[in-house]
């Protein structure tokens, strides 16, 4: 890291700098200082306050709303129904249907991008020349806004004039309804999300792969170990913990995916690509069931928190090995 490399410089210059460059420190001003405790508190306070006001407070508000019959647009008397909204959400077959869709999406997308991303990283790690330049090129999709990506792919996957179908037709196939056939639409969503986030897995896996010490391979070479053995027993154990972190980040993001669905499919056709986040948006802003939506959202937060806890526990076990 550049900060660490540059670190000793000021100390040396303070010790050996010529006298004219050395400004005398204000040794006399030792009294009347603010105590460290207060400096620390004052430095951290604005940030913590900001987050309390704009994340924790709204969340607590959502908890309060979730026990009521509040609606943001309908003018109706407020009633306290306690856990009725939670029961409604948990017993709604629609919600469970969306949960399954979300699960398919998360597993499909994260799985696909992990396999492809790791494979590309593996190929890149074996190249010496041009690795840096290639990596930068491959990172392009990750930098773009989901809206821009949604626009790209909506154009390319259009059934009539989309370039993907042009290619399909050029090979003698029929036009494929990528975004208007339920199963294909979900598949398209998975592919587009993977297009954007494969580079993320790739770049993290690459960081792990290039950090594997060469002498391990040389030792295995002397023992005439097979390629598969080297991969299974040297490469993978060293990259695995890093890959797990990457998968954690991706899984959380995939679970709460909203923007790409909004731009690419709008949840359609029917409800075949409605993730939980998208369904929640419809309940909250199209049906104006603010209270039910709050309960729905709180349940989602609980699910993601619990899943993360379990996963992190597994992760620390792997890292401890």
């Amino acid at each position: 890291m550049s900060a660490a490399e540059g670190a000793p410089a000021p100390v040396r210059s303070a010790a050996s700098a010529p006298p004219q460059a050395f400004t005398l420190p204000p040794a006399a001003r030792r009294w009347g200082r603010v105590p460290d405790r207060w400096i620390a508190r004052l430095s951290a306070a604005p940030a913590v306050l900001f987050l309390l006001a704009l994340f924790l407070f709204p969340l607590l508000w959502a908890v309060v709303l979730s026990f009521s019959t509040y609606s943001a647009t309908r003018n109706q008397p407020l009633e306290w129904v306690w856990f009725a909204n939670y029961v409604d959400v948990l017993t709604s077959p629609q919600v469970w249907e969306r949960a399954v869709i979300t699960l398919v999406f998360v597993v499909g997308a994260v799985g696909l991008q992990t396999v492809v991303g790791f494979s590309i990283a593996f190929l890149l790690a074996r190249r010496r020349r041009g690795r840096g330049a290639l990596t930068i090129l491959l990172l392009l999709p990750m930098m773009l806004s989901p809206v821009v990506i949604g626009a790209f792919w909506k154009l390319m996957l259009d059934a009539q004039f989309g370039v993907v179908n042009q290619i399909v037709r050029a090979f003698g196939g029929e036009s494929i309804l990528w975004l208007t056939q339920p199963r294909l639409a979900l598949l398209s969503l998975i592919v587009v999300d993977s297009w954007q986030w494969t580079p993320f897995i790739m770049v993290i896996a690459l960081a792990g792969l290039t950090a594997v010490p060469r002498y391990l391979f040389e030792a295995a070479e002397i023992d005439r170990a097979s390629e598969w053995f080297k991969f299974r027993h040297i490469t993978l154990p060293l990259v695995w913990p890093l890959l797990l972190i990457a998968v954690l980040f991706r899984a959380i993001d995939a679970f709460r995916l909203f923007d790409l669905v909004y731009v690419l499919t709008g949840g359609g056709p029917g409800s075949s690509t409605e993730t939980l986040s998208y369904h929640l948006y419809k309940v909250a802003f199209q049906n104006s069931d603010t209270a039910v939506a709050s309960a729905y959202g709180i349940l989602m937060v609980i699910v993601v928190t619990l899943a993360t806890q379990v996963y992190v526990r597994y992760l620390t076990k792997v890292q401890a090995r």
Binding site: A3, V34, S43, L59, R126, L144, G150, L155, V203, L280
Partner: protein, 284 residues
């Protein structure tokens, strides 16, 4: 090494290069296609032609209104909003976040671990969940569809990242440097300012650029908390996509104009990319 194994390793290298070339092509093709589309008129878009006479009309439409009166287009206002909101939120998050990171790195604060975990957990919250009460709250406080409202929200949105990333950078600078300066008679803050800050500057810059990219691209909060006046570019582009017939040339040109700054900034922080995308959890 025998001739046969050398031959097979050469075949293998060729296969690997071909596979990599395919990967690069797949990753770059959509962007290239969008660039082409931005230079086409609508007829060429629908024809899907590869050979066409390029036009810059679409780029003109991004900035100049089509109406008879002329003048600036709606997108110009969206771009102005995006620039103002992104710049303010980035500066604010950096100014508030860096001291907090310093405090968390250097001092034994009460409940430090809990606070840090709380800060991180805000990153995992689905935006749609936060946006529901926030929408109600902003309407009451008259912050709905204001730039200030967006700036405040994006500051909070960038703070967890700024704090975690900067804490990593600050942890790498030994606290002894500041202690030594304090022995020389500097106060705490002077020591931070004179000794630590110059060393941290590259890290602060990289962190700020990441905040810039995240804010610039953000869509979900923007679409729910803005109306016509303070709308940023991402929801505006999404709005163009939603209608009966999409003006594809305009969408493509707007997307290009919108994406170029991000790519430039991404290039700028390319060495920090892994750390930046994982909250500093993974560093090289």
């Amino acid at each position: 090494m025998s001739a046969q194994t050398r031959e097979s390793s050469r075949v293998r290298t060729t296969i690997e290069v071909v596979l990599l070339a395919i990967a690069v092509a797949v990753m770059l093709f959509p962007a290239a296609w969008m660039l082409l589309t931005s230079l086409k008129d609508l007829q060429d878009v629908y024809a899907g032609s590869v050979v066409f006479s390029p036009t810059l009309e679409n780029y003109r439409d991004v900035f100049v209104s089509r109406s008879a009166a002329g003048g600036a287009s709606d997108l110009v206002r969206n771009f102005a909003n995006s620039v103002i909101v992104t710049a303010s939120a980035t500066v604010l998050a950096t100014v508030i976040g860096v001291p907090a990171a310093w405090a968390f790195s250097r001092f034994p604060l009460k409940g430090k671990k809990d606070q840090l975990f709380f800060i991180l957990s805000t990153r995992f919250m689905p935006p749609v969940v936060v946006v529901i009460p926030l929408f109600v709250m902003y309407r009451t406080l008259h912050l709905y569809d204001t730039r200030i409202g967006l700036v405040l929200l994006y500051t909070a949105f960038n703070l967890p990242f700024t704090i975690w990333m900067m804490k990593g950078f600050i942890d790498e600078v030994p606290a002894e440097y500041e202690d030594a300066a304090m022995v020389d008679g500097y106060s705490r803050l002077q020591a931070f300012h004179k000794v630590a800050l110059p060393l941290l500057l590259p890290g602060i810059l990289a962190t700020a650029v990441f905040s810039l990219i995240f804010t610039w691209n953000e869509f979900t909060f923007a679409v729910f908390l803005t109306g016509a006046t303070s709308r940023t570019v991402p929801p505006a582009i999404a709005g163009l996509l939603g209608g009966q017939s999409t003006p594809w040339g305009l969408v493509a040109a707007a997307a290009m104009v919108f994406a170029v700054p991000v790519l430039a900034f991404g290039w700028f922080v390319r060495t920090h990319l892994v750390a930046g995308m994982t909250f500093g959890a993974v560093r090289r």
